[in-house]
C-alpha cells in the first residue's frame, strides 16, 4: 500500500516535471516558458516531500516559485519582449547537434546511475523523516556549517551590491 502510493505519486510528479521542462524549453514566448518552469518547480517540491525533506519542499515553493520566478517574470515584462518572439529560432544543423549532445549526456548519466547504484540503496533511511525538519537542519547549519553560513551571507551582500550597481543607471 505504502509502496504503491509512493510509486503512483512519483510517476505523477515526474511526468509533470519532465513534461513542463520540455514545454519550458520549446515555447516561443518567454512568459509561457516562465509559467511552465513554475509548474516544474511545483512538481519538484512534491518530489522533495516524497523524499521526506519537508523543509526543503517548503523553501522550494517559497524561494523558487515565490521569489526567483517573480523576478524573472518582472524582467520579461520590464523588457517587453512581445515583439521579439521570432528571434531567429529556426531549425538548423546546430540545433540537431545540440539535441544529439544532450541525448548523449542523458545516456551517459543514466548508464552511470544504472550501473553504479542498482540495488545499492533500496529504501529511504529511517532517520530521513527526522532529518528533514527545520530544527535538525538549523542545528547542522549553525554548528557544523557555520562558516558556509556566513559566506552565504556575504554572497547575498555581493548580489545586492551588484544588482544595485548594474541597474543604477536608469535611476538617474
Amino acid at each position: 500500500m505504502e509502496w504503491k502510493l509512493e510509486l503512483i505519486l512519483f510517476v505523477l510528479l515526474s511526468v509533470m516535471a519532465v513534461f513542463s521542462a520540455i514545454m519550458m524549453v520549446t515555447r516561443r514566448s518567454p512568459i509561457n516558458s516562465a509559467i511552465f518552469l513554475i509548474i516544474n518547480f511545483f512538481a519538484s517540491a512534491g518530489i522533495y516531500l516524497l523524499l521526506q525533506a519537508q523543509f526543503i519542499a517548503v523553501i522550494q515553493v517559497l524561494v523558487y516559485m515565490g521569489a526567483i520566478m517573480v523576478l524573472v517574470i518582472f524582467v520579461i515584462m520590464l523588457l517587453n519582449l512581445q515583439d521579439e518572439s521570432k528571434l531567429s529560432e529556426q531549425f538548423s544543423y546546430k540545433k540537431l547537434t545540440s539535441l544529439l549532445l544532450s541525448v548523449l549526456l542523458f545516456c551517459l548519466l543514466g548508464f552511470s546511475v544504472f550501473f553504479g547504484f542498482s540495488g545499492k540503496f533500496t529504501s529511504i533511511s529511517g532517520e530521513a523523516e527526522k532529518l528533514g525538519t527545520a530544527e535538525s537542519l538549523g542545528k547542522e547549519l549553525v554548528l557544523a556549517y557555520s562558516v558556509p553560513f556566513e559566506i552565504a551571507g556575504l554572497l547575498l551582500l555581493a548580489a545586492v551590491v551588484g544588482a544595485v550597481v548594474l541597474a543604477k543607471k536608469s535611476f538617474d
Binding site: E2, L5, E6, L9, L49, L50, Q52, F55, I59, L62, V63, G66, A67, I68, V70, L71, F74, V75, M77, L78, L79, N80, Q82, E129, A134, E135, S136, L137, G138, K139, L141, V142, L143, S146, F149, E150, A152, G153, L154, L156, L157, A159, V160, V161, A163, V164, A167, K168, S170, F171
Partner: protein
C-alpha cells in the same frame, strides 16, 4: 508517513479545482452575445491608446531584488531560530553570535540600498 500528506494534496486539489471552476463557470452559465461595443476596453469611455503590455519601471526590479535577498535571509534564519533554544549554553552563545554576524552582513546591504536611494519613491 506519506499518508500524512494526503490532506495537503486534497486541499491543493480542492483549491485549484475551485479557482478553475469559478473562473470558467460564469462563461458557461451566463448568456454570451458579444458585439463590438461590449468588447471594447471602456464601453462608454475614451478610446485606449497603445497596448496594455507597457514597460515597467526599473524601480519594481530593485524592489524584487531586495525581496529575493531578504527572503533567502529569512530562509536561513528560520532553522537557526527554531534550533536555537534546544542547545546547551556554550553552543547557544556561539549560534547567537553566528546568527548576529549574518544579520549584520545583510543589514550592510540594506544600508547600501538606502544610501543609494533605491528605496526612495517619489
Amino acid at each position: 508517513m506519506l499518508e500524512g500528506y494526503i490532506p495537503i494534496f486534497i486541499i491543493i486539489f480542492i483549491s485549484a479545482a475551485f479557482a478553475f471552476l469559478n473562473i470558467n463557470l460564469s462563461s458557461l452559465l451566463g448568456p454570451n452575445r458579444p458585439n463590438k461595443e461590449k468588447l471594447s476596453t471602456y464601453e462608454s469611455g475614451m478610446e485606449p491608446i497603445g497596448t496594455a503590455h507597457d514597460r515597467f519601471s526599473i524601480k519594481y526590479y530593485m524592489v524584487a531584488v531586495s525581496f529575493i535577498v531578504f527572503d533567502i535571509e529569512v530562509v536561513f534564519l528560520y532553522p537557526w531560530a527554531v534550533s536555537f533554544l534546544n542547545f546547551p549554553k556554550p553552543e547557544m552563545i556561539y549560534s547567537f553570535v553566528i546568527g548576529l554576524i549574518f544579520i549584520v552582513v545583510l543589514a550592510v546591504g540594506l544600508i547600501y540600498e538606502y544610501k543609494k536611494g533605491v528605496l526612495k519613491w517619489d
